[in-house]
Symmetry: C2
Subunit: 282 residues, 2 copies
């Protein structure tokens, strides 16, 4: 594939990790970073995530590809403004919600330059210091509403993700948001709520620290995730998330009833049902 000059807006966990891949896989001939946080900007330079940091307009004019890796609320403001000023550039985003963003630029005269993507990778950490090598590899990436993108833009973005080692899936933006609610967003809510449950009730922190088993850590680790990233996701995907959350509370209530009534048969069948997750998780 043709190497291009890439500019990454937001040099944190997602953007910084992508930058490392674009460098390592020789996808970018030049990597410019844009970051509104001067501490993060300096950190991105110090960690050599990008070659230089520039103001937004200058960075875009020097680039062939613009990657948006910022919280999804800021994306709604910035994407149309970027499409206003691009000509030949390919613009893509890495956001966790897609429907509202795609809708926002649906009638933009340069809609075709934009490719909506969601790489299904992340960690509970944030900022340039959270960027890691080999991120994204062997994970899925969803491309949404590809027929609205210019074919040169879509093909280059697909080639980029393939070269990183991701599995490509194409999906309508609304369907994406529904699936994301089940597969990602609800896990964060259960984890945040579990952390608050334990922190609220348990005061002997040394005891928690000593006792916490790998199982506990596994279910609460997402509770370390950043509110600046997650509040806007919950807002944009509100309808689907509420639907999943109601179902989740209903499922928890079934366990509650089974335990309260001492109904071991019900509990056994609820757990056996849950065990079917083995079929779809390795």
């Amino acid at each position: 594939m043709e190497r291009k000059k890439v500019c990454i807006i937001g040099t944190g966990l997602m953007g910084g990790s992508l930058a490392l891949q674009l460098h390592e896989k020789k996808i970018a001939s030049q990597l410019v970073g844009v970051d509104s946080d001067p501490v993060h900007a300096q950190e991105a330079l110090d960690r050599e995530l990008v070659d230089q940091i520039l103001p937004l307009n200058e960075a875009i004019s020097l680039s062939d590809v613009v990657v948006l890796a910022i919280p999804v609320d800021r994306m709604l403001d910035l994407l149309p403004r970027i499409l206003d000023i691009v000509d030949h550039q390919i613009v893509l985003d890495l956001g966790s919600t897609k429907a509202q963003l795609v809708e926002t630029v649906a009638h933009h005269p340069r809609r075709g330059r934009y490719v909506a993507t969601h790489p299904m990778w992340g960690t509970e950490y944030s900022g340039p210091s959270a960027a890691v090598k080999q991120a994204y590899e062997n994970k899925a990436v969803i491309l949404c509403n590809g027929t609205d993108s210019d074919s040169d833009a879509l093909e280059w973005v697909k080639a980029m993700y393939r070269k990183i080692g991701m599995h490509l899936m194409e999906m309508d933006a609304v369907a994406h948001d529904l699936h994301a609610a089940y597969i990602s967003h609800i896990s964060h809510i259960t984890s945040f709520a579990l952390a608050n449950t334990v922190l609220g009730k348990e005061k002997e922190e040394n005891a928690i620290f000593e006792l916490a088993s790998a199982g506990f850590e596994s279910t609460v680790r997402l509770a370390k995730s950043n509110p600046s990233m997650w509040v806007p996701i919950f807002m944009q995907n509100r309808t689907h998330i509420l639907d999943v959350l109601d179902e989740h509370i209903a499922q928890l209530s079934k366990f509650r009833t089974g335990i309260a009534e001492g109904n071991t048969e019900i509990l056994k069948s609820l757990i056996e049902e849950a065990n079917k997750i083995r079929r779809i998780l390795k």
Copy 2:
């Protein structure tokens, strides 16, 4: 420490993994297994978890130490019967609930031979094939109501866990069950319920399989856990678990309200509160 002849009742995940440690750390001079499931018994022999499989009474009479590693409901039946027939033997259990078991044998004439323990290690798998080497190392183990145990029995059990590389904590059995509800049992319920939420709503399993990120896998992996082990735990620790579960549903409802009302300030503060889990998890 003095090597002893050890008999392990239940050669699955917990008992089998302990057997591997007792062998590797040269703690046992002889390892006899007891398993009511003939397939598991054969598997334990094939995997060399134990030297031989014997019927219960014969195994106990040939041993100095008896380890109970069976579901906690079966423990309530078996522990008093074992105490009926031991004389010099040390008896310990690895169960996830302690209060009811300790209560059951509180007035047994040979109560002193028994040491109540809960090593805070496990995985979502079960049976002899789930036994792994180096299990338990660097994890906490809780010893309950140690003053009710004979000092020779208590000291040998402590020495055993130290030699395996565990951190010892002592705690009253009722306090243990309360802590275990927060640190372990609730995580399993949230994970089972999350699996049922996703499985119930989502029919496109290939999509789940492809999309499932590490975060999702982390929060649902405990949903693979065995009902024979977990239903009795939920029953024995019912009061504490219901208390935690009600609090957890209340915490989820706060997220629900914040999302439904579009209250970003509330959501931000709920997540910031949850982020404090960073202080107590590495």
